[in-house]
């Protein structure tokens, strides 16, 4: 039987900050080249989210104006179902604003607190100055090629609670908060990062890891993915900026 992965793209019409779409292209490509049928469904405001339909859920970043439009739908309307998907070990990839909204709250720099979903124990405090620039991390959950490349652009400082692990360690850039050297978060199968845009295309090992996890949860057993060349990605990785002090 052909393997299938169904991805739910939450609020693609609102959360689509620079290049989030590239992550889905990467999943489609590396699943497709292995003969896995990969389908994408968009679910936005006012549309039903049924966690049992999907193996993966993608939540991108958005501009403030857009995040304000969807927050109520995300927290109050779909919130219970999204938490249910987390409890069922569905694979999530949450980027930047999506990462923040999965957490407990976002405190604006004037002290005003915006309640978020609370699906994982992280919280964010907004500051005036932004962390902007190319980033390099090392990610221990990956078996090989565990150097990750990204680009961050955020004013929120995110802190991780006890049951939540960082996705990676910062080699250059600021990461979650510019203080503790952590980047992103992992809780159950929820993977979060501040790296937006072309995160997965540049990091094929991460792409493969997410595909593998999605299949494992679906089948309830360990999965070994068919080997797949990454010469194109490796060529690009060699040309990426290396750590330089900014």
């Amino acid at each position: 039987m052909q393997e299938k992965i169904r991805l739910c793209h939450l609020y693609p019409d609102l959360l689509n900050l620079y290049g989030d779409r590239g992550n889905i292209l990467a999943l489609m490509r590396r699943a497709g080249l292995r003969g896995i049928d990969f389908s994408v469904e968009a679910v936005s405001i006012g549309e039903e989210f049924n966690p049992d339909r999907y193996d993966m859920i993608f939540l991108g970043g958005g501009q403030d104006a857009e995040q304000n439009i969807l927050r109520n739908d995300f927290v109050a309307v779909k919130g219970t179902k999204i938490k249910e998907a987390v409890a069922k070990n569905k694979v999530f990839l949450c980027i930047c604003g999506g990462f923040q909204m999965m957490g407990n709250y976002y405190e604006e720099h004037d002290g005003h607190r915006i309640e978020c979903l609370g699906a994982l124990d992280v919280w964010t405090v907004g500051k005036k100055n932004r962390f902007i620039g190319d980033t390099v991390y090392t990610c221990e959950i990956l078996p090989e090629k565990n150097t990750l490349y990204g680009f961050e652009n955020h004013s929120g400082r995110t802190y991780l609670g006890d049951g939540v692990k960082p996705l990676a360690k910062v080699l250059c850039g600021s990461g979650n908060n510019g203080e503790d050297g952590t980047e992103g978060a992992v809780y159950k199968n929820v993977y979060c990062t501040y790296s937006h845009g072309s995160f997965l295309p540049k990091n094929p090992a991460m792409t493969d890891f997410l595909i593998k996890r999605a299949l494992e949860v679906q089948k309830g057993e360990e999965v070994v993915l068919a080997p797949l060349a990454s010469d194109i990605e490796d060529f690009a990785r060699k040309a990426l900026p290396t750590c330089k002090k900014s």
């Binding site: 609102l14 620079y18 590239g22 857009e66 072309s198 540049k202």
Partner: protein, 495 residues
Amino acid sequence: MMNVRAGAAILAARGISRGLRLLGRGATTLPGRAAIRICPQIISLLAKDQHVIVLTGTNGKTTTTHMVSGILDSLGFVVVTNVSGANLATGIATTLVEGIRIGRRARKTGQKTIYVIEADEAAFAKVCGPLHPMVCVVTNLFRDQLDRYGELAHTQAFIAKGLDDTDAQILLNADDSLVAALERGREERVTFFGMDKESMARNIVTKAAKSALGETTADASYCSFCQTKYEYRARSFGHLGDFYCPSCGYGRSEPTFSVSYNTDINDADESDKDRKEKTPGPSDVGFPVTLTYRGESITVGLPIPGLHNFYNTVAAVAACVALGEKVREPSLSFGKVSMGVELVRPAFGRMEKIKIGSKSLCLLLVKNPVGLERALSFVSQASDADGMYLLLNSNDADGRDVSWIWDVDFESRTYPEKVFVSGERYGDMYLRLAYAGIDKDRMQARPMEDCGSLVDEALAECGDGKCLYILPNYTAMLALREILVKRYHLKDFWK
């Protein structure tokens, strides 16, 4: 009346200009910077009592500024304009200082002087008031360098602030919901320009839907006033179209200045090569478009090709006519202005064709997702295309974040067989193209230091009579231009 401080500022700016020219360098921002430091009101003092048009927006402002200048020039006016995108306060101050002498000479020959000023969207809030414009044009608001400008809503607020510091006639793009929303509270001063809605309905936008990935550039999909999702009766490109809000009823206004066309345009994949070679399309110079104003219609050949230039053309005509009405200038009638359109030539880095032996190069500056989509659409339809060369840099002026290339719909078009890639971020661009399905055997990707020799290789593979299309972003274009001038012994073709 000029005060002593202003006089000193002007002298300082002129001195610096002269010095820089002696050193063989362009003088676009330093003289203005010195002038502002000596006399912070210099822009206001120099612009007062002049005829000023100010243009802003994320895409097409340089081209539109250039078109306005070209039209006015062809009608016998003397134009003072900021060239080469020197569109911050410093560049504008430099231009105004230069304008003093140009204006004086014009008076001797009995000509009138008009200032046509392009302003950066963020700078617009500060410079618009001091410029005392008679006419302001807002071309569009697309996503552009988020790390520099922040969100589109901020850009919109900057422009609103600038507009409120003047009593100028305001020309807004009717088809851009973010721009059109600036009408609220300024109704009496606003005139709309836009695309005829029947023409829009002919433009078959098929892209995005194909890949099940949703829209590629979904700026402004929700109503500016009530946050309900807009619906569209027709679209031209990006978020431009005949939009309306099903909840509060806000929607596109009928433009007073409109542009229409008669041919069906398939903006997406252009796989039918026969059709492409026979019928002129929007990628050809001289493609006929009809401009309409108060019941009068005039058909002109598109001076600079590309669907987006339909908008730039109608905006430029509207700006000239609006100024003419404001100052009661009969030579700026709609009829005369429209005839001036065909005399306009491309602005630097925008659709320039340069002959190199039996082949040519064409430079298309691309800065943001919509700009790149327009350029890709153009290249995929150009009948003489034999090679495409993309260059991507990530300096401050480009925006340091290159993730935007992933928002561009590369997937639904066909390109010339050979594709070349360079720039400081050649790895990112190569990956994007490969993920869009361009086979790696069709691509050559080299670091920025080899970008010149890659032009040689690309030209060697380009057929006689054909054209190599080069799509650089801003600093890549500046660097490449210099290399091209040296390599092929060209004159300064960007003047």
